[in-house]
């Protein structure tokens, strides 16, 4: 990929740039399909077939199976599309915030409150 020089990394942060957008295209396309109720239903009925239909890589399929947000991001998932995926299991941004930081949801919420200073 002929990318421009990348800026200094920011710890704990993946910049969703051209490289990631290429890597994650199939995964994000599948997640985008979850805007429609019939597609959410189809995924829940046969997850493997649904992943295969979108041509997910092994890494992506494994991350989907594990419901592992950090692994989904590493596999090219964009958070706004992943929101539609985790929504299938009733998870919101605070639930996956807790999952990604290895905290309980209560502790994650407390951390946010603590930002008041």
């Amino acid at each position: 990929m002929a990318s421009a020089a990348k800026p200094d990394p920011i710890p704990g942060t993946v910049i969703f740039d051209g490289d990631m957008a290429v890597k994650g295209y199939a995964l994000n396309k599948m997640c985008y399909s979850f805007n429609r109720a019939e597609n959410r239903k189809a995924f829940l009925e046969d997850e493997d077939a649904y992943c295969a239909k979108f041509g997910l890589s092994e890494e992506q399929t494994a991350a989907v199976k594990a419901r592992d947000t950090l692994a989904l991001i590493a596999a090219g998932g964009n958070i706004y599309f992943l929101a539609k995926f985790v929504g299938l299991f009733g998870m919101n941004m605070q639930d996956i915030g807790a999952q990604q930081t290895g905290m309980t949801v209560e502790d994650f919420k407390a951390k946010l409150l603590a930002a008041r200073g």
Binding site: T13, D17, I79, Y80, Q100, A115, R116
Partner: protein
């Protein structure tokens, strides 16, 4: 002649939409947030704008990564909201103003902003949550004409803060050159600091947010000097939405008067900022 009568900033977090649907505005978690809005709602009631230009970002409802415009402007008679996949209840359609949209599109391209025009455009929570906050009454919400302006905040490279500020200035010039007597309000939505993804999820930077709340009023060019990477570092991956506020601010005159403001932590994962600005004489 058309004129911009005010600029408003507000966060557009989906959880706000859910709280409204579930009527949780009086809950202890939500009350300090919602209590800040009536002064802005009352101002809108008094000022009676004809058109709201809503600067927001699409979060994967209308646009996918197959085609990702940096700047997209609605030119439709009506804008539909739809299922975003995770349970926010869609709102009834919003009215457009194709004539003013096309005037702005022509003026922007003439001004060297080569934007994407959209005769059909689904609007997501980035647009609908601010509309619900500003116009709690459905009749008023569907009466005001709207022009959605979507800025790419999904896929880097994102447009720089300086470019967004200049886009706002070009929108300001476009409105000022429209001959029909039209009162326009501009909403800069999103922000402030938040990060949803990665091990750094939950990052909020109160000091930076408060500085932005001040500088967006008094010295927006200071904010326009940041890079996108600076904003991601200082305000979190999604805190880069500050560029949407800079579009709004660019559309206002050089000097503005702050009529109302509020800052509240946290709403969901976010530092939530509200501002009501009028052009200073």
């Amino acid at each position: 002649m058309a004129r911009i009568i005010g600029g408003i900033t507000t966060s557009h977090i989906p959880a706000i939409g859910n709280a409204i649907t579930r009527n949780q505005m009086e809950d202890p978690y939500w009350k300090p947030f919602f209590d800040a809005y009536p002064p802005v709602q009352n101002w809108l009631e008094e000022a009676k704008p004809d058109v709201a230009i809503v600067i927001y970002n699409d979060h994967g409802l209308n646009f996918f990564l197959d085609k990702m415009p940096t700047f997209a402007i609605g030119a439709a008679p009506q804008y539909l909201n739809d299922d975003e996949g995770w349970g926010l209840q869609p709102l009834p359609p919003f009215q457009g103003d194709p004539e003013l949209s096309w005037h702005i599109i022509n003026s922007l391209v003439d001004d060297e902003f080569d934007i994407c025009s959209c005769q059909e455009m689904l609007v997501d929570h980035g647009f609908t949550v601010p509309m619900s906050l500003m116009f709690p009454d459905q009749a008023k919400r569907s009466a005001i004409r709207t022009i959605p302006v979507a800025v790419n905040l999904i896929q880097h490279p994102l447009p720089s803060p300086a470019r967004c500020y200049k886009l706002g200035q070009a929108i300001g010039r476009a409105v000022a050159s429209y001959e029909k007597d039209t009162k326009v309000v501009v909403f800069g939505t999103g922000g402030l600091s938040h990060q949803l993804d990665g091990q750094r999820a939950g990052f909020i930077n109160k000091d930076f947010d408060l500085m932005c709340m001040e500088k967006i009023v008094s010295d927006p060019e200071a904010l326009a000097r940041y890079s996108i990477h600076d904003l991601v570092r200082l305000a979190g991956a999604q805190g880069a939405e500050l560029i949407l506020w800079l579009v709004m601010r660019g559309a206002m005159s050089e000097r503005v008067k702050k009529l109302h403001s509020n800052y509240h932590i946290p709403i969901s994962n976010t530092g939530a900022g509200l501002l009501l600005l009028e052009n200073a004489a």
